[in-house]
């Protein structure tokens, strides 16, 4: 059978995997941003106990591989009666990992707001909260856009690791087909194309966005 036929025949499966990859990435990224933001706020406002916990979480999450995190969630936790289905494991794992990356991104932005801006805010009598609301956050968010953009791409790529917990996303689909029909050239080709379709446009959009934001920020 020709390559083209192989590709055509496997298209519906790849489509499913593609949609699943997109969906898991989407949920995971939104979740990561929320978790990351919460951690950053806890840190920024130096909330007593929670702030420390958030810091510990960030270090654990950032310094261990997603694969091992997933193995834990999927294979090890059920031993103690805590069981999530595969897709939930994937999402939870991605958020667990992404939350710390996003949090670092936000922190970088907040820290990047210049000291003089903060002092100027204080000098006109802004309270801590007002300072955050009118000065640090608006500027910090724009400063953190590049880091967030990089994280989004990173997290989408990380979904490929979901293959180890039997989620039929793109990579899993390809590896599975290879195992059954041995047409690795064709299936790997499809796989690369699948990721390229998601990531190339996204990367271009994010670059444009980043430029726009940067232009808007600097120049004072």
């Amino acid at each position: 059978m020709g390559s083209w036929q192989i590709i055509q025949q496997s298209l519906p499966l790849f489509e499913k995997g593609f949609v699943l990859t997109l969906w898991l990435s989407f949920v995971g990224i939104i979740g990561s941003i929320i978790v990351g933001l919460i951690c950053s706020l806890l840190k920024y406002f130096q909330v007593p106990v929670l702030g420390r916990l958030a810091a510990i979480y960030v270090e654990i999450s950032r310094n261990t591989p997603l694969l091992v995190q997933l193995f834990f969630l999927y294979y090890a936790f059920p031993v103690f009666g805590f069981k999530l289905n595969a897709e939930m494991c994937g999402i939870v794992g991605l958020i667990f990992l992404g939350g710390s990356y996003m949090s670092e991104g936000f922190n970088g932005g907040f820290d990047g707001v210049s000291k003089t801006q903060v002092e100027t805010g204080k000098a006109i009598g802004l309270s801590r909260l007002q300072l955050a609301r009118y000065v640090v956050f608006p500027q910090g968010f724009t400063l953190s856009v590049p880091a967030l953009a990089a994280n989004i791409i990173f997290l989408i790529k990380e979904t490929s690791i979901f293959t180890v917990i039997a989620i039929p996303e793109l990579t899993n689909t390809a590896l599975d087909l290879i195992g059954m029909y041995y047409r690795s050239n064709e299936y790997l080709f499809m796989l690369v194309i699948g990721y390229a379709i998601i990531l190339i446009p996204l990367s271009i959009i994010l670059t444009i966005l980043e430029k726009r934001v940067r232009y808007g920020t600097f120049g004072n």
Partner: protein, 246 residues
């Protein structure tokens, strides 16, 4: 005699181990213009930053309007509304328009009505010749314009005391004059109480009622303005004045 706006008593300041202000004592009365002079690193910026609580100090007191300031962040936040401060770097908030920059303090901090505050802001903008720029973002302004807006922003809070820290130091020479003129007017026409750190000796001479000369964190002399420039009391101040004109 006019009332004492601010008084500093036995102030001592350390950066970690480093002792940068020694036994600072002075007071300023309403309407008085004091210029702080001294070589680089002598502690001028540090001193005026202590006056509105941007720097903590380790000993001594700041007495504002006759009341000793209990130095908590909360108290300082209250007092800062009555003390305007302008820095060397024109620190407008880049994310806000000129008008929003100006109104932020009056509306959000002092809870003035927006309309009222806006009327006042526009009056001040007109005074510095920038009435047409209210809806512009800071990046669209020149350095001199930004610095004038920064002054307006501080004035919009109707402060009782203004602190200026080398406000022309990062301006192009041709822009310096416009900004200094505005401060002169403020001193002469509006009778604003103020402390001015500057390296522009001509300007200092012109506006100073009194000069505080600082070196190594000590106040070396406190002299009437005209007298200081004609005949400073200390040799150090004399040397300093000489070095300032080529």
């Amino acid at each position: 005699m006019a009332k004492e706006v601010i008084k500093v008593a036995n102030l001592e300041k350390y950066y970690q181990k480093r002792h940068v202000l020694h036994e600072i004592n002075f007071s300023i009365h309403e309407g008085e213009v004091v210029t702080l002079l001294g070589p680089s690193g002598s502690g001028k910026s540090t001193l005026i930053r202590c006056l509105n609580g941007l720097e903590p100090y380790q000993k001594g007191d700041v007495i504002f309007n006759g009341e000793k300031v209990v130095p908590t962040e909360k108290n300082w936040q209250q007092i800062r509304q009555k003390i305007g401060m302008v820095f060397q770097s024109y620190d407008l908030f880049p994310n806000l328009t000129v008008l929003e920059n100006i109104l932020l303090g009056p509306v959000k901090v002092q809870h003035q009505s927006r309309e009222e505050a806006k009327v006042n802001a526009e009056r001040l903008l007109a005074q510095v010749g920038l009435q047409d720029y209210e809806n512009v973002y800071p990046r669209q302004l020149s350095g001199g314009q930004k610095q004038r807006i920064a002054i307006v922003r501080a004035l919009a809070l109707k402060p009782e005391l203004m602190l200026f820290d080398e406000v022309t130091a990062s301006l192009d020479p041709e822009m310096v004059r416009g900004v200094l003129n505005i401060i002169s007017n403020l001193a002469q026409d509006s009778n604003m109480t103020m402390i001015v750190v500057t390296h522009e000796m001509n300007f200092a001479q012109q506006i100073a009622d009194r000069v505080l000369f600082l070196e190594d964190g000590h106040i070396l002399e406190q002299t009437k303005g005209d007298q200081f420039f004609k005949q400073p009391q200390t040799d150090r101040a004399k040397a300093f004045l000489e070095s300032m004109d080529f």
